[in-house]
Amino acid sequence: MRHIISILLENQPGALSRVVGLFSQRNYNIESLTVAPTDDQTLSRLTITTIGDDRKIEQITKHLNKLIDVVKLVDLTEGAHIERELMLIKVKATGAQRDEVKRTTDIFRGQIVDVTNTIYTIQLVGTSEKLDSFLAAISGTTVLEVARTGVSGISRGEKVLNV
């Protein structure tokens, strides 16, 4: 099963490599990874999506917690949560395709953020599943480039991840 693990990490040199290294060292999978500083300059927030059964996920969270630079973590998929991913996608948009791509983008509530005579660059935000669906929906179009950020997430309601 797919899990989204959010981590508060000491904003120290080499801290990220400890997290990434742990995954390769113990043969765990990273599906996506996002990282950036938080409002607290001493902390970074990392979000990792990974796949594994409960036993594997338990080991992953235990080993992550053992890393000295990991301050706190939460498996967002254990409760109600919001996940978002941003995708920039550059497609060929000529002739009849131009309107079709625009319509599909509107249906997915995406935005065309750059335009040339032959190209649309579309920005789309949503769950990974939604972004996958969009790619499937425009599969008739020539996709030139896809840049996805990977998943970021946060718990719903009162539950917070902070120090």
Binding site: G14, R18, N65, K66, I68, V70
Partner: protein
Amino acid sequence: MKVELLSGGEILIRALHDEGVDIIYGYPGGAVLHIYDALFNQDKIEHILVRHEQAATHAADGYARATGRPGVVLVTSGPGATNAITGIATAFMDSIPMIVISGQVHSSLIGSDGFQETDMIGISRPIVKHSFMVQNPEDIPMIVKKAFYIATTGRPGPVVIDIPKDITDPNKKFKYHYPESVKLRSYSVPSKGHTGQIKKAMEILLAAKRPIIYTGGGVVQGNGSDLLKELARLLNYPVTNTLMGLGAYPATDRQFLGMLGMHGTYEANMAMHCSDVVLGIGVRFDDRVTNNISKFCPGAKILHVDIDPAAISKTVSADVPIVGSITSVLEEMLQLIKQSDARVDTQSLDLWWQQIEGWREKDCLKVTPAGNDVIKPQQVIQCLYEITNGEAYVSSDVGQHQMFAAQYYKFDEPRRWINSGGLGTMGFGFPAAMGVQLAFPDAVSVCVTGEGSFQMNLQELATCMQYRLPVKIVCLNNEALGMVKQWQDMQYGGRYSHSTYAESLPDFVKLAEAYGHVGVRIEKLSELKDKMTEAFALKDRLVFIDVLVDPMEHVYPMAIAGGAMKDMYLSKTERT
């Protein structure tokens, strides 16, 4: 408060002293010359100059295992740092507290492929508990404080401190103040176990009909030996130790079934397999213990106590997991048992002990003499045990001799058996024995080795001469890589692919003599005891005792790969 001005190098040495360090094992080089100069100008910390950085780490490791205090290593950048890697990995696998200080090139050169530059933080990352790169000389005291705190608390482990050369510049002086305490927001040490879980475990344990207490290195590292004895005796339950846990429970005690696992005793492995409750303390259900996990202890409830939550249910699912320090959990268990109305089921326990005595009668470690005055390797360990009254510190290398030492030297005290159980590092034993000898100058420090392992760090004969370390080296010389050869006998039709070298072995007696030590060669069983006794009588000399042993001997019992714990070869011709 008095404030002094010190250079980065001086700050480091002072901080180590303030942390209580008495010995550093190291080797100088360009990137650490400022630190070595700071060492030269003081007399509080002794520095032991090894002959290879790997030996520095093993010596510090031996020191740490024997004393319980962290071992400290100082090496230069590049090759100095990479040479230390095997020793760091060895300590990491066995959860040994160690501080490794490595020099690094000048900050401005980092990343430029400078002379003797290597990314020590990167290379050591998967085999350290944590690491620090020093970026400011004023940070050194706090980093040292943190490093020792991390290395010695919780599940112990090695910590690397990488120091660029400019940080220790003797011309730049800073205020020195050593912090009294340290707190890390991202690191908390589990102390007490969960009382509810301990109660639950106690109920299951007291209701057991065929219980066994299975303990490991965690009991040694966590200083839980006395409490373990109290618990086992209060319950009259059988105890087995892992390779790493030997000595945690007295081997000569009636309730001790011997080591378990791949080369464990018949009675220990049978009792594990047939048990209905396993109380695992400070163990990690390693593959060398469990054999095939799907067939492991089929009828048993597993109660697992460990300070590391990640060790629990990693390979074998625990029915009752307890995370906490060994001593606090054992104390609480003892208290609960004493208060409890529940009593041990003595009737079932009597039957259980009868069954165990039946297995014991097999006498699986019985040594059949080879005849013709040929020495069996087991007889050497038996002889060693006798002449040292079972009181020596015994370090070992890796291979058949290691297993024979584990099986035949009956350790009654923790921290006496010093071996690389997790990583299985050949070349570990001799430098580790040096570290033990430096920690306890008056103790008998023995290295049980083989002619293969010994040649992996024999350069330390020079270190032992320089510091007059009277280590006794007992070499079970079978003129081959014995354990490799045993596997080739058993699984590869006796094809000895690159495991023999009889024609190119050195004369170990002359080798020892060349370094100024004493060498003894023993080839006949009839001479074994007298010559060994003579060698051990040379109290202030290093003696290399080269014992020619039966080259065809195998280590038994031996687990049958893929089987359950009850599946063992008991000899070349007998299996369960």
